[in-house]
Symmetry: C2
Subunit: 403 residues, 2 copies
Amino acid sequence: MDRSLAQFLPLYINVTMSICTYFLTVRLIPRLKERFLKANLCGIDMNKKNFVKIPEAMGVVSGCTFLITMFLFIPIPFGDHIFNNVNFPHNEFVELLAALLSICCMMLLGFADDVLDLQWRHKLMLPTIASLPLLMVYYVNFNSTVIIVPKPFRAFFSLSIDLWLFYYAYMGMLAVFCTNAINILAGVNGLEVGQSLIIATSILIFNLIELSGDMWKAHQLSMYFIIPYIAASFALWKHNRYPSKVFVGDTFCYLSGMTFAVVGIIGHFSKTTLLFFIPQILNFLYSVPQLFHFVPCPRHRLPRYDPEIDKLNPSLTVFRKNDLNILGKLIMSIFKAFKIVQWQEDSEGVVTCNNLTILNFVLILFGPLKESTLTKILLIIQIAGTMLAFVIRYPLASIFYDV
Amino acid sequence: MDRSLAQFLPLYINVTMSICTYFLTVRLIPRLKERFLKANLCGIDMNKKNFVKIPEAMGVVSGCTFLITMFLFIPIPFGDHIFNNVNFPHNEFVELLAALLSICCMMLLGFADDVLDLQWRHKLMLPTIASLPLLMVYYVNFNSTVIIVPKPFRAFFSLSIDLWLFYYAYMGMLAVFCTNAINILAGVNGLEVGQSLIIATSILIFNLIELSGDMWKAHQLSMYFIIPYIAASFALWKHNRYPSKVFVGDTFCYLSGMTFAVVGIIGHFSKTTLLFFIPQILNFLYSVPQLFHFVPCPRHRLPRYDPEIDKLNPSLTVFRKNDLNILGKLIMSIFKAFKIVQWQEDSEGVVTCNNLTILNFVLILFGPLKESTLTKILLIIQIAGTMLAFVIRYPLASIFYDV
């Protein structure tokens, strides 16, 4: 296999185009702010003293520049085949198109959500539908639904198990999880973009490592998406970081989640992708009692701003202990036992408890924090998560699998 | 070639799915109206006595149900290959995905236009970009850029000419033209959807005729898109017809134009598709002086409503004759010679002239009309255009080409 410089030429072109995308996006965003405000696409920053209107759903700008870059990039990896007009690799082309279709579709739905405020069941149903073309491509091109059983469990199962339809259900759920997991770990300036950039960079590093392996083609394909994504999102981050001049909206969270799911699926590293979501998984698990309404869940769970000290406190939810069902009581007693909730109960059985997000949990641990400090701590947790992921993926994996 | 019933099975499934889509869409639209009004996506109907707020950009609902139907339909035409797992026709699959990608992308841009009010240059640039994946597929799968020269011109040219890059430019411009041509032939209740439905039905009839020909596969592919499109749009029309309960927005016009361009390109009948746009082409040509600002062009050119008689009059634009440049004067004198403008000039050289749309032209011809009557006349013109198109396509074509 010839892995000369020429073979990586599309990658160099991709990087060059991404640099242009960055500069385009970073200039475009402030120029479009007025237009978003005029369209009433704006929100108030709740964690600031002065209630300024901030344009919302700006993720659609970085998303569009990302998509345009990808559209212009489409012919590049196939340059050889185009000029020589032989053996066009339709199967590779299909992957690229299906991935773009899923991302584009998800962006449309995200923007519709920002404008129209969709219901929860749509948020679960729509990513599933958006991922259908991709699953179809997976079926056609690979249809490998066999997983290797880790060594310690081989006594109970065989060497490998064919998950069959369940593997497709898993991939569909991956898209739903990725799109929503970023969306619920949010609420302070720059956190959505910050965490997404760290996840994207982690995927990029993983791709770079694997580029020297047997599966280099799949990882190259993943990089085609991740590099322009990082460029466009980094431009967005410049305007979204503390103090935010723009908000990114559900558009950005959906777009990001779908991009990660897509590269994970077509790059055959969906389990590794999930490893980069450790903080999101923890936040999701911690949120479960509220998400599934075992414990009352207010409309917004973001931290409570104290204007006097200009710092954030954990936000609280108040309910009667007797209103909890048996499952709610059980889960909360476990949480109390592990001391991961702030729980105050008065003589009449009225409970005051923090909203169950890791933002509030960090505030319980470290006391009132400045918003920028809270964002920094969460991004450090995200980086720590990535480091843990690499430890699991490389040294630890050799214990469970034959590498 | 076996053209048994089994071969058309995907088509039957498509029809069944489309019927479901119709019923889903027709119920979904009224239920989502409140959500659109709440998001401030609404407009005032200028041609009514009572100024009621009407939800705008509802085309996104029919567009989404259309896309969801297509997403669910994707595996169906490949059922045989999926179950037998041999010789998957990637080249056909690529066409389907690229077409969906272009349509989805255009819908995103249309919705963004409705919400954010994009500039004119975006309206020209974005359809071009959205059609790139499709042109790439055309290049890879067909790359036939040769056109047959009509008999009378063969003395000057050869039998055929290879248009090469210009053919791709033509296809890109087709997308731009189709998306915008429907958008500028608008302004009275039900016209956008009405004309689109007539064009779509014309394409469907043409596909049905050609289904018995050599190119039946391409026409079958076109029908996969057109039937669900008609179902979803017909549901929208139910609510958009006079008196409109919802407006369709640029989303619908863009989506429709792109769908027509897409089926024309992948079905290899782009010239026939253009024939179904005769009224739109006439409206565009008539509008050229205002679109290119040879004659002053107000923000809105829709007919002027007279509440006393509840009828529409042509809307007017007023300017000084001396302000026109040489080209403007030339064009307007031609228009005057053919008596296709209402032109009044006072002693000081101030001109009052109707806005150059065929809506206003019909109003000049037939006097003040009720809004519903004007819509009907325009839809009859559209049907007449289709009949003319079929005459050109079938009996007349044999004069110019060897059939």
